[in-house]
Structure formats: C-alpha cells, structure tokens
Subunit: 316 residues, 2 copies
C-alpha cells in the first residue's frame, strides 16, 4: 500500500554532549520518510526554501521516496535550533524560524491523493484537515500533534481528529487533550473524539498502544550510546506506518507489529545526529536490532509458568 506523509522538511542545529551540528537535515517528514521507506513506497508533501540543497532531497530519493510533492518556495527553509541537557532529560529550543513553513498550504499532486495510508505530521490542525479533504478515501490516517495546538487550536484539532484512525502523542499531551491524568483513561476519552488507536510515545521508555479496549506497552531498545534524540518520535511513526502499509489487514496484530517496527527504527535515529543513523541502517542492522530488542525484554527467556508456580499459593 502507498504511504503519504505531510509535514516539515527542515534544517536543524543541534547540540548534545556528543557534539553539535549546524543546518543538518531534519523535519518531521524527513525522519518519518527515512524510516517508512525501509518498508514501503513513501511520498512526501512539504515545503522548502531557496536555500535548500537538492542533494538533501537526493538522500530521500535514494531510498525510493517520491519527493515530487516537495515544493520549493521563495525564502528560507524552516530552521530549528536546540540543545539537550547532559543526560538528555531536558531540551531547550534555541530558535525556531518558520520561514517558508509559515505559509505552507499542502497541495497534493493527483497521484498522492490516492495514498492508502496517510501520516499527518505535527502541523496546524486546519492544514491537516485540508490534506484529508484532498485525499481519496485513505484506508488508515494517523496524526501527530503537540500541546501548542491542543491548547490553542482545540476546535480545529477536534475537527480533524474525527477523521483520524490513530493519534500519536506523549503522556503530557494525552493528559492535556483528555483532561485525564492516566493514559488508559485518557485514551478512552480520545477514542470518543475519533481515533480508535492511540499511541503514547515515551521516548527512552518506549511506547504504549491502546486499541480495542486493550493496552500494550513496548519498551525502547536499551542502548549504551545515544547521540541525539531529535526526530525519534517521527522515526518511530515512520517505522510504524511503513510496517502497517505492508500488512494485508490493519488489525490488532498488524498494529502490534508496527509498534515493534517503529521501536526498531527509532533506536537507530537516536544514535547519530540528523537522519544519519537511520539512513545508514541496513536490513542486517534492522534484524540484529530486532534481536537486541527481544533479548532485552522480560519475560524473554523467562519461564513465566515457573514464576506463576512461585507466586504465593495461600492467601497471606
């Protein structure tokens, strides 16, 4: 199935304990497509400025990504600058220059409008809605958002959410959107707003899938070296949606598999600046990372029946 992502393509300046990069390729659509294209044909709709290097689009094209929907507009490319604290507990935004992104009005080429799966990365909910208006009955739509829209553009966000299958957000955003202080209760409220699938992104603590009245948690791959967490959430979404696009049916098992694929993809994203590590990841890397994920999870290798047998057999 064909996958479309609408979001940002940006130049990031990032500083972490492991170094710094300036004007490195970034943006939600970029991270997403670099991961999803490992699984399926992906098209990107975004806008860049006159300063954007054609060679950076080539990096996506080499992955088979259709970049014909990336518009070159007058002005500069969206830029973001940030700095992480020593142990990545906090991130400080140093600057945000929307530039051409401020006037982004996504126009879908005819061929993109027929996408089977659509990922609406974090942009204004009215733009997300406009994209859906241009789509011809996609089979599965997922949306990412942030507190800025939850608090500032709630009616617009609620309007688009009614047409969305899956919502990606973090704990804090889920609490803000639902008014609840517990992710399971928050997801129940969000289901009532539209999305029947809620994915709670927890960074280094993994992700939670809530769907069909059940919740599953999958921890992130434990890594002994993290360079730059920028883009991990979009990379996760890219692996998730790319995997889904390869499934004959989008059911619970497919969503669970997508959690694994997203988790593996995100584990690469954080190991270098920009999209460098996910871009380098080979099939062999993906498989060995999959093994690392599985071997690091309890109850992997643990006889649960033996644990069960050792639980107290008489009430205390």
């Amino acid at each position: 199935m064909k996958l479309l992502v609408v979001g940002s393509v940006a130049y990031d300046s990032v500083e972490t304990r492991h170094g710094k990069v300036d004007r490195a390729l970034g943006g939600s659509a970029t991270f997403f497509a670099m991961a999803s294209s490992l699984f399926t044909a992906t098209s990107v709709v975004a806008v860049v400025g006159e300063d954007f290097h054609r060679s950076d689009l080539d990096r996506l094209e080499r992955r088979g990504v259709d970049v014909s929907g990336v518009e070159f507009a007058e002005g500069h490319t969206f830029r973001w600058g940030g700095k992480y604290s020593r142990h990545f507990e906090t991130r400080t935004t140093l600057f945000t220059e929307l530039n051409v992104f401020a006037n982004f009005k996504p126009k879908l080429p005819q061929k993109h409008a027929a996408a089977d799966l659509v990922f609406l990365a974090n942009i204004h909910p009215d733009l997300q809605y406009d994209v859906l208006e241009q789509c011809k009955q996609p089979r599965f739509v997922a949306l990412d958002t942030m507190n800025f829209w939850i608090s500032g553009e709630r009616p617009s966000l609620e309007r688009v959410l009614r047409r969305v299958d899956a919502l990606f957000l973090n704990d804090e955003e889920a609490f803000a959107l639902s008014g609840e202080g517990n992710v399971i209760q928050a997801a129940r409220k969000i289901h009532a707003m539209g999305p029947q699938t809620v994915v709670i992104k927890r960074g280094e603590h993994g992700a939670v899938l809530i769907h069909g009245g059940q919740a599953w948690i999958l921890p992130a791959v434990m890594l002994d070296h993290v360079v730059d967490p920028t883009g991990a959430g979009d990379t996760f979404a890219g692996g998730f949606m790319g995997y889904l696009a390869r499934q004959p049916r989008i059911d619970t098992a497919a969503l669970q598999g997508a959690m694994v694929a997203g988790t593996i993809a995100a584990s690469f994203a954080v190991q270098d600046f920009s999209v460098d590590a996910i871009e380098r990841a080979t099939m062999a890397d993906m498989r060995s990372r999959h093994e690392l994920l599985c071997s690091g999870l309890l109850p992997s290798g643990l006889n649960l029946a033996a644990v069960e047998g050792n639980l107290p057999t008489v009430a205390a």
Copy 2:
C-alpha cells in the same frame, strides 16, 4: 531461605489528587516486609517511638513477619509528609522528622544474624555496613540508597557497596554514582564497585535488571487508577527479594522472576494510601495481576517471526 530487612518504620502524611492520609503506616521496611512476606518468612529490624501503635506492628505480624527486632525507643516515631502533583510527575516533601530514627543503631538479634538474604533499605551507609558486620555470611545482600548518601557519604557508601550483591537505585542516582549518563554504562561502573546485579527503578516505567553483561527491561503493570506511589520502590524490592528467597539458586532466571514478582507487588502498592492495598492483596489478586502484566506486554500475543518476516528484506 530467611529474609531480613533493616530500614525505617514510619508514620507518613501524604496528599494526592485522590485524597490525603495523616500518620499512616509507612517506612521502607514496612512496605518491603508487607510485600516480601507474601513469599517468604521475613524479619524486620527498625526503631519506632513511644507514640507507635502496637496495632500497626500487628498488621505485619498477621503476615507472619517477625517484628521482634523492632525496637521501641524514647521519643517520637520517624515522620514524613509529602504531596504529589496532579499527575504524579513531582513529589514535594512537606516535612521530615527523623525523631528516634536519628539515633538508630541497628542491633541484630542472634536469630536474625543468620538470615540468608538481607535487604539494607535506604539508611546511612555506615549503618548498612554495621548490619553486614553483624550478619553471618548471608547468601545475597541487596542495598537501596539515595542521592543524599551518594553525594554526601561516598567513601562510606563505597565501603558497603564492596560487600553487596545487588544495588537498587533510579536512573538519576545511577548517573550520580557512576558519573555516566547512560544506565548500561553506569551499571558497568557499578559492577566494578561491587554489586554484580544492578536494578534500575523507573517508577511507572518499570525496572531494568543488569546482570552478567546483559540488560533486561520490564515495564510496570499499566493501571487505570493510581492513588499514591509512596513506597512503590520498597514494595518492588520486597517482592523481588521475597521471590528470590524461595529459589533454590540465585541465578539469572531467579533474578528475572524476581523482577516480575517485584513488579506485581509494586502494582498493588500504588493503588491505595500507605500499605493498605498490598496488605489486602490475596493470592488470587497476585495471579490476576500477573496475567494483566503479561497480557499488556508486547510482544505478548505477537508473532515475532511474522514481524521478522516483514522487516525489509533488501537493503535500501
């Protein structure tokens, strides 16, 4: 095998979004023993004041806990007061009155000195060391500590760590103790200090076991109702050590099972104030919570081979 815990027995005043309690039974040794006694015979060494209600010790005795090592001293019982933010992101300590705990000098009755497993809850590392001096060759010693001792009493802490098998601490404490910013790297440094088993406690995000050159993560049970997280870490340790005490060998499989038992025990602790919920937990509750934990974990119910088959088969 017999299990001994040395720590605090306290009266807590706690406020959360779900209510407040005043002078409720608390303290590290209390939470620990309430959980460990579900699995194995447990003895407590602690000190309380003249104001302490004998009926509170009865609650432990009803669980088969040997409280003969709880000393009644002149003065008031250790008191702690705290308040949690609406979504439990932060906890503010309102007061700490050490009272009789300030002069606590653990003296082990002869019968307790022969304990096979010892848990040194979070007290001054010199007192933890004194306890070990009084023990006769325990088979497995675990220790809990905090940033206050890591930064303020490092030589004392390093002295006792050399005699400890397992260290329980959170991410931040692991970073402070090791000087590393990654738990796997931090654990390597900590292994060199003595403890060959490191357990990273992550609250609602679960726990990590690092042992024998491998790391395993186990998420916490996802709950739709949390009342008061106080004591969850000590309850986890109680379930962990209690489970270990029932194993013929303390090997990797036993430690992995202990992670599950600790996780289940902690999931009760947070669902009411004080030790009320873990005290009420029956064998049937433990088993159904075990099922809830397992059913909420990916890749539970997920065909990993199917995911593997869907990973990219050609390098991009």
